[in-house]
């Protein structure tokens, strides 16, 4: 909403500069997006002049050499190219030194040999109109030398407001003036609709003889008003009106169209002018459209309507989409002499829907959809009538067609003093509340515990409850001096939940191992899924994505890790240690998707930084990732294991892939990325990665409390054991057999060496060196006890895994 100060000041002119006014409005609830200057930046050297003489330029057909009295003694010679310049005219002059709206500074010039001391102005040259066909001719009574600003608004500051959706009353200049009045205390003039030239004969019947109006859907059209004007002369609008439209951001067109726009900008209420003689059958019907009904709107487009859209039709069919846009068929033309001015009130939600469905937004629809009040219709009629009479030489046909009338009677709300205090935390004297409400045109009456407040029609939709009144009092009377206190809390205490602590713990364990956290997109594209070989997986798709690459929600964190990895590699990062934690989105039948919280890590390149002592550290591989995974899961104390499975995930190297089991249940994957998948990210080195569902982890550790075990009173006995087993037997299987046979006396068993040599231990075999730790909780174990246990382990390895102990 653009508010030219020149226009605003007609109704309320606080003694504040524009920035101070903007600040005051911002601090009382009217957001000021920015302050602009419209027109010329400085007023100096723009004056009224009198053309004393206008003669043909000796050397140029299209130029005239004029002698112009600009009020400062000696008349100036000015060369002018306008065809309409003539002796005796009062004109607008820019003298040398004037700074034009585009920033250029006018100088004395020579045009085809004739000196020109300035310029006689056309309206577009000072941005108060769009016409460049001729110079502006001013009323004769203005004396030469008068500063031009006194006659024409060639410069004004413009407040660009962001009107919040609850305040459609501020979509008009007068509404803003009310707000300025309440915010600054500056006097507010009577509303511009106070004098209605049609008021005297509002109920006269004459107009009904000229046109017939039917409203078939009053719930969607609470009020429809129409007036008729005869002897209308379509012509350009006067400069002051054009100037205001320009400053407010509207192009002037012709007097009738300009008046509808002007009144809309002033009141917030859209109007529509019909050429009465082009309304077929001299009748208008407001009705809902038939499904599939079409009409051509003013912008030349054919629109297909549905049965919830409201249109205005004449005897030949639709002429307007109600509240949104008119049709070409009954538009006002240069030859129009009889105008029907329609001002109607529409159901905001319905207009919003129509505008949305048709993809058609207009100045009218953007106001109507906010939900205007029926009273505004007659306010707009009153101003429009006066302007049409004044500016178009027209006469008003007595009578107003008014179907629906004013809105419901005003609501009265009780505003309790105690409630203000309890909600704001500060006491506001009742007299102060009343003062604020009166300034906003509410009508407060004291009762024993507060005020009974009657809401003005133009705030009917916004202010319906006590809380809404308290907001009015607060924004103008309490916010600036509000104390800062803390809630009494009544014993509420804050802490992280178990799951939240676990998530923090997992992230901390990863950074402790040198991994950087990234934050990727929740979105992914089908192409990424295809590269990951998971294109067939069910996904959540967006209805209105910004791009194909962001058209669905991810089911794995791997995609963003690979994307970020590639980006960093291309920027020269030698090694990558990255992780991400966040939701993935798994579709579920007939419900919102499941959003498990995952953590995933990616390693590639040297596991350590190369140095002069360690010039070639090994590249990250499966075991590097496994180490990081262990770092995470062990630090949050969750029991886990891996199960080798070539089918784990289609994007993994089948020989280097495993499922992560939490408490025996699958809860993620770990492995090296399949070389062909890696190639999809221009990657040739090994990439090791894992992803684990932390929600599953959280479920297993829920409520877990560690209990003390005595590991210090009795010593541990350590023994090493090398066992040769077939290569097909995994280390985990060996350890499982060892642990089972070792029973409770075996406190731990780890693999510390792996050895293959077909000559010494036979082809297809592997030797695993195990470190066994024996301990009893209540005594020091004897050598005999340990030896017996060791024998059982050796026997079990032999019988269950065909393993034998290696002697050498």
């Amino acid at each position: 909403m653009r508010v030219p100060l020149e226009w605003l000041h007609e109704y309320c002119a606080p003694d504040l500069d524009v920035l101070a006014l903007a600040d005051r409005l911002a601090m009382t609830g009217t957001e000021v997006e920015r302050v602009e200057r419209h027109g010329v930046s400085g007023l100096d050297n723009f004056v009224v002049g009198k053309v004393l003489r206008a003669e043909q330029h000796p050397d140029a057909d299209r130029l005239r050499v004029c002698l112009v009295d600009t009020g400062d003694g000696e008349p100036s010679q000015i060369v002018c190219g306008a065809p309409n310049v003539a002796t005796g005219q009062t004109v607008a002059v820019a003298r040398p030194g004037a700074v034009m709206p585009d920033g250029t500074k006018l100088k004395v010039a020579k045009l085809r040999g004739q000196p020109s001391n300035g310029m006689i102005l056309a309206e577009d040259e000072v941005a108060i109109g769009t016409d460049h066909d001729g110079i502006m001719v001013l009323p004769d009574e203005v004396p030469p030398g008068t500063p031009l600003q006194r006659v024409l608004p060639i410069a004004t500051d413009v407040l660009v407001l962001e009107v919040t959706p609850n305040r459609p009353d501020c979509l008009g200049i007068y509404g803003v003036a009310r707000e300025v009045h309440a915010a600054t205390g500056a006097e507010l003039s009577a509303p511009p609709w106070a004098e209605d030239p049609g008021a005297a004969d509002r109920n006269a019947r004459d107009v009904t003889e000229l046109v017939r109006i039917d409203v078939e859907c009053p719930e969607l059209c609470p009020r429809f008003t129409a007036r008729v004007f005869e002897d209308v002369k379509i012509a350009p609008s006067p400069p002051w009106l054009k100037a205001r439209l320009m400053a407010a951001g509207q192009r002037p067109i012709s007097n009738i169209v300009d008046i509808t726009n002007y009144v809309m900008l002033l009141t917030g209420q859209p109007l529509h002018a019909f050429d009465l003689d082009r309304i077929a059958g001299a009748q208008l019907t407001v009705r809902t459209a038939h499904d599939g009904e079409t009409m051509q709107t003013l912008d030349g487009q054919t629109r297909t309507l549905d049965s919830e859209m409201v249109l205005i039709a004449d005897a030949d069919g639709p002429t307007s989409i109600a509240g949104v846009m008119g049709g070409a068929r009954s538009e006002v033309e240069p030859t129009t002499t009889r105008v029907l001015m329609e001002v109607a009130n529409w159901n905001g939600a319905n207009i919003h829907r129509t505008s949305l469905k048709l993809g058609l937004r207009s100045e009218a629809s953007s106001r109507n959809e906010k939900g205007l009040q029926p009273e505004q219709a007659m306010e707009a009629q009153a101003i429009a009538a006066q302007l049409i009479i004044d500016l178009c030489g027209a006469s008003l046909v007595p009578g107003t067609i008014d179907i629906g009338g004013d809105g419901p009677p005003p609501k009265t709300i009780l505003l309790r003093d105690a409630r203000i205090t309890s909600l704001l935390g500060v006491e506001i004297p009742r007299s102060r509340s009343a003062e604020i409400l009166i300034a906003l045109e509410f009508d407060p009456h004291p009762v024993f515990d507060g005020l009974e407040v009657t809401v003005p029609a133009f705030r009917r939709a916004d202010v319906t409850r006590e809380a809404d009144l308290i907001e009015e009092v607060a924004r103008l009377g309490a916010l600036e001096s509000l104390p800062a206190t803390l809630p009494s809390r009544h014993g509420a205490a804050g802490r992280l939940t178990e799951v939240q602590r676990l998530r923090r713990g997992a992230a901390d364990a990863l950074t402790a191992q040198g991994l950087h956290e990234i934050v990727g997109w929740s979105f992914e594209g089908p192409e990424l899924a295809a590269r990951l070989r998971i294109a067939d997986r069910a996904v959540v798709e967006l209805e209105n994505p910004m791009s194909t690459e962001q058209s669905r929600l991810r089911t794995t964190l791997l995609g963003s890790l690979l994307d970020v990895g590639r980006r960093n590699r291309s920027r020269g990062a030698p090694a990558l240690r990255l992780f991400e934690a966040g939701a993935v989105y798994l579709p579920r039948e007939g419900a919102r998707p499941d959003e498990p919280y995952h953590v995933a890590a990616l390693l590639s390149g040297p596991v350590r930084r190369a140095t002069w002592r360690d010039p070639e550290p090994p590249p990250a591989d499966f075991f590097a990732a496994k180490g990081v995974l262990a770092g995470v899961l062990d630090s949050i104390r969750v029991p886990w294991s891996l199960r080798a499975d070539p089918q784990t995930e289609p994007f993994l190297h089948p020989g280097r892939a495993a499922r992560i089991l939490i408490d025996g249940e699958p809860a993620g994957w770990i492995g090296e990325i399949h070389p062909q998948v890696a190639a999809g990210w221009d990657w040739t080195e090994a990439i090791a990665a894992f992803e684990v569902d932390l929600d599953a982890v959280a479920a297993t550790v829920h409520g877990h409390v560690a209990h003390y075990r005595d590991l210090t009173s009795f010593p541990e006995i350590r023994e090493d054991l090398a066992v040769i087993v077939p290569d097909t037997v995994s280390a985990a299987e060996v350890l499982a057999v060892v642990r089972a046979a070792g029973s409770s006396l075996l406190a731990g068993a780890e693999v510390f060496d792996v050895y293959r040599d077909e000559h010494r231990i036979g082809a297809g075999n592997v030797s695993l060196a195990l470190r066994l730790r024996f301990r009893a909780p209540d005594r020091t174990l004897t050598d005999e006890e340990v030896a017996a246990r060791r024998r059982k382990i050796v026997a079990a390895l032999g019988s269950e895994l065909n393993g034998r102990v290696r002697d050498s």
Partner: protein, 359 residues
Amino acid sequence: MSGRIAEIQQEAGAAIAAATTTTALEDVRVRYLGRKAELPNLLRSVAELPPEQRAATGKAANQARQALEAAIERRGGELAAAELEQRLITDRLDVTLPADPLPAIGRLHLMTQTRREIEDVFIGLGFNVAEGPEVETVYYNFDALNHAPTHPSRLLTDTFYIRPAQDEIDIFHPETALLRVHTSPMQVRAMQSQPPPIYIIVPGRVYRPDSDATHTPQFHQIEGLAVDTDITLADLKGTLLTFARAIFGEERQVRLRPHFFPFTEPSVEVDVSCFNCVDGVTADGQRCPLCKGTAWIEILGSGMVDPNVLAEVADNGYDPEKVQGFAFGMGIERIAMLKHGVPDLRLFYDNDIRLLEQF
């Protein structure tokens, strides 16, 4: 005999003193105390002496031997220390070569660090941390939060909707799924699951179709909600003042500017006093680029919970006549950008390691 012992002792003493290396000292030891040397032989032959000489000679020879052994030990220690010193001086490192690197240090993303910092401030103020789904319904995201059917943020241009399995999308149906545009839907979910009093913050990912230097289609917010019997707008101001001081420094002030949000009434935007300037002017006399010379920086939107929102959960003890509260919502990235001078929101999602390492 005792004269000879004294002689040997003197001679050996001189030799020990003259030895300049541990090798020379060893030669001295062998010469005077070795198996074939005179003094040990003398000691061994004491038994052959006449009985009246044995005691005196044996004692003298023994004392001489002990004295020489001690002298050699002492001298040996001195020489060894000197020789070690000499050797160490030649065992030289180029100390200017690079050190072994520390174990790599990983960083939490700046967004996470900021999120935790904010969470911890509010936990200290007695708030719990609640999280809710990112794929929400029209009901929780708009309807229950008192958004009029005409509210512009419902449009396809302002909200990402989930494509329905079948049927055309109906953006006004309460069950229609969307990506939440704010963390506010959790207000109603939390109040449905817990009667008052409630003090929560809700951090999480939110989505809006927008992309430029200050907008990304995905970003993070922290919602706050406090509902109790006596929460006031002044309490909101005090809570946010505490927050602002914890994050931006103890000198900060906050101010409330009236605004409009559908789910709060009264609604306010909150500004924090600029921490980069004094009254909009930087130390070097320039117009402050951070607050654009206004001395205030907008950090969040908030207000008193609208009675219509409470009415949605009145059955769970939230009668708008009996309880009241405040709510606020802030962008985590925005707080981080302000605090750390990050110029472009998109950098958060670029994840350049050189940026990640800075924080």
